[in-house]
Amino acid sequence: MFNNKILINILSEMADVIKENRGLLTDLDQAIGDGDHGINLDRGFSALKESLDSLKDKDCASILNSAAMVFISKVGGASGPLYGTAFMRAGKEIAGKENITGEDAINMFNAAIEGIMKRGKSDKGDKTMLDTLIPAFEAFKSAIENGDDFESISEKTLEAAKEGLEYTKTIAARKGRANYLGERSIGHQDPGATSSYLMLKVIADVLAKEL
């Protein structure tokens, strides 16, 4: 059963993975952006990790809401408000809920993406985090609706995420800082799409252990 303990594990693990990949994300951002994506996320996740202890008795919705506030107030840049909004919207979907079902998971994921799209005025194909998240969501949704087992859901979701991430290399950016590079952004993997992939991977890994 998904619960607040697992959620806190996920967030804590995300913080570690982002810290490990701080250099990678920053390098990717130096190539087509301003070279701070790893630094930004690490600053946010480090602050989040420190606060997790104080959140351990809260419900999942509150934890996500607190995580959102930390992101919004610590990260800055484009990714701060976007990931912050995503966490906030996801949390809203399960406000007051005890049991979090597969359908809730779909709603949360969907709400997170919609939040990003609205806040960022962006969509699939703009070479952003959405190119990881939207395909992943679609695969996730159809696998659940298909009645797949956890392993298969997880595999299909990550595969689609990975494909979307790879796809960002082939297109020119239309949103975010990389947009200013025009055609020169082709060939480079989007940093936000990369961090989104890493975060999805953490969710899958932790759930594989915990469920």
């Binding site: 630094i39 800055g76 840049g77």
Partner: protein, 331 residues
């Protein structure tokens, strides 16, 4: 990385502290926040102007807090848009009851964070509105994309809209003037070297000894293209060409800003200005006022940008108005 700093994580904190210590007659810090406001903020009954963005563009924006320009400035991490809570503090600290105008540079992050701050302010019934500066002609404007960046022309918006607010105009008027300024200012830049974000510890890109980066922003991001280094006159011609073909400046008067990106000697900016004044004279464009120096920088990047503001009588009066700030004083 060669920098005179203590700790990459503390650089904004220490800079702000040193800034307030240097200019106590002009500014104070909002305790606990990375927010600089006028020493006498809030100014009662006056429309307040705030701006901000990532740090690393010094003297922007804190250096322009003072009479005739900004009321407050919010400093994000280096090259990283400040967060909504910080911006919200600035809004609260400067609001003198006549509303707050936020001068935002057009970057996804800046736009979103300032927008969220405005949402917070609205909940507390503070009247907040914003303008988005997008003066960089290096990038094609398009509704499918983020649009143009805001770069050094932002300083003209601070100057002109700041003077309008100082004159006692109301929020709608100050906003109208800010938007008119934005509509009439165009900029473009180039660089000879990258810069290094302290926390990243290594240069934002690499350039060969004979290469320059053209059409780049102010965050160390690469430009629209790379080229062999050209003589100053050729560089100026190229930048001006893009600017002058974007809006029609012919027959008009302009304010010129030859802006250093932080690592370029002032000598070179003046060499550029020689050519700028020649080209403008040839085209029958009259220079009303020229600013030369480091106004909107990119850390220690060697490079420069040119901004041209097309003036009408209203803008001319406002660009000539008094200003008294740590980085720009004019009487």
């Amino acid at each position: 990385m060669k920098k005179i700093i203590n700790n990459p994580e503390m650089v904004v904190e220490e800079m702000l502290d040193g800034f307030v210590k240097a200019h106590p007659n002009y500014v104070k810090r909002v305790e606990g926040f990375d927010v600089i406001v006028r020493a006498n903020a809030p100014v009662k009954g006056k429309v307040a102007l705030i701006s901000g963005g990532g740090s690393g563009h010094e003297p922007s924006h804190g250096g322009f807090v003072g009479k005739g320009m900004l009321d407050g400035a919010v400093a994000g991490a280096v090259f990283t848009s400040p967060t909504p809570d910080q911006i919200f503090e600035a809004i609260k600290a400067v609001d003198g009851g006549a509303g707050v105008l936020m001068v935002v540079k057009n970057y996804t992050g800046d736009v979103m964070n300032f927008e969220m701050a405005a949402e917070m302010a609205e909940m507390e019934d503070i009247e907040v509105t914003s303008v988005v500066v997008n003066d960089d002609v290096a990038v094609e404007d398009s509704t499918y994309t983020t649009g143009r960046r805001g770069v050094a022309g932002t300083v003209f918006v601070h100057k002109v809209a700041g003077a309008a607010a100082e004159k006692g105009l109301d929020l709608a008027e100050v906003k109208r003037i800010a938007e008119k300024t934005i509509a009439n200012v165009r900029s473009m830049g180039m660089s000879l070297t990258p810069c290094t974000v302290p926390a990243a510890g290594k240069p934002s890109f690499t350039l060969a000894e004979d290469e320059m980066e053209v059409g780049l922003g102010i965050h160390g991001e690469p430009g629209t293209h790379r080229d062999k280094i050209q003589p100053a006159d050729k560089i100026v011609d190229h930048l001006l060409d893009k600017i002058l073909s974007d809006i029609d400046y012919s027959g008009s008067e302009v304010a010129v800003l030859v802006n250093g990106l932080g690592g370029t000697p002032i000598m070179e900016l003046y060499v550029m200005n020689k050519r700028i004044s020649e080209v403008l004279a040839e085209k029958g464009i009259k220079v009303h006022r020229t600013y030369v120096g480091n106004y909107m920088t990119s850390l220690e990047m060697a490079g420069a940008s040119i901004s041209l503001l097309k003036l009408d009588d209203e803008l001319k009066e406002l660009i000539d108005a008094e200003a008294d700030t740590p980085a720009l004083t004019q009487f």
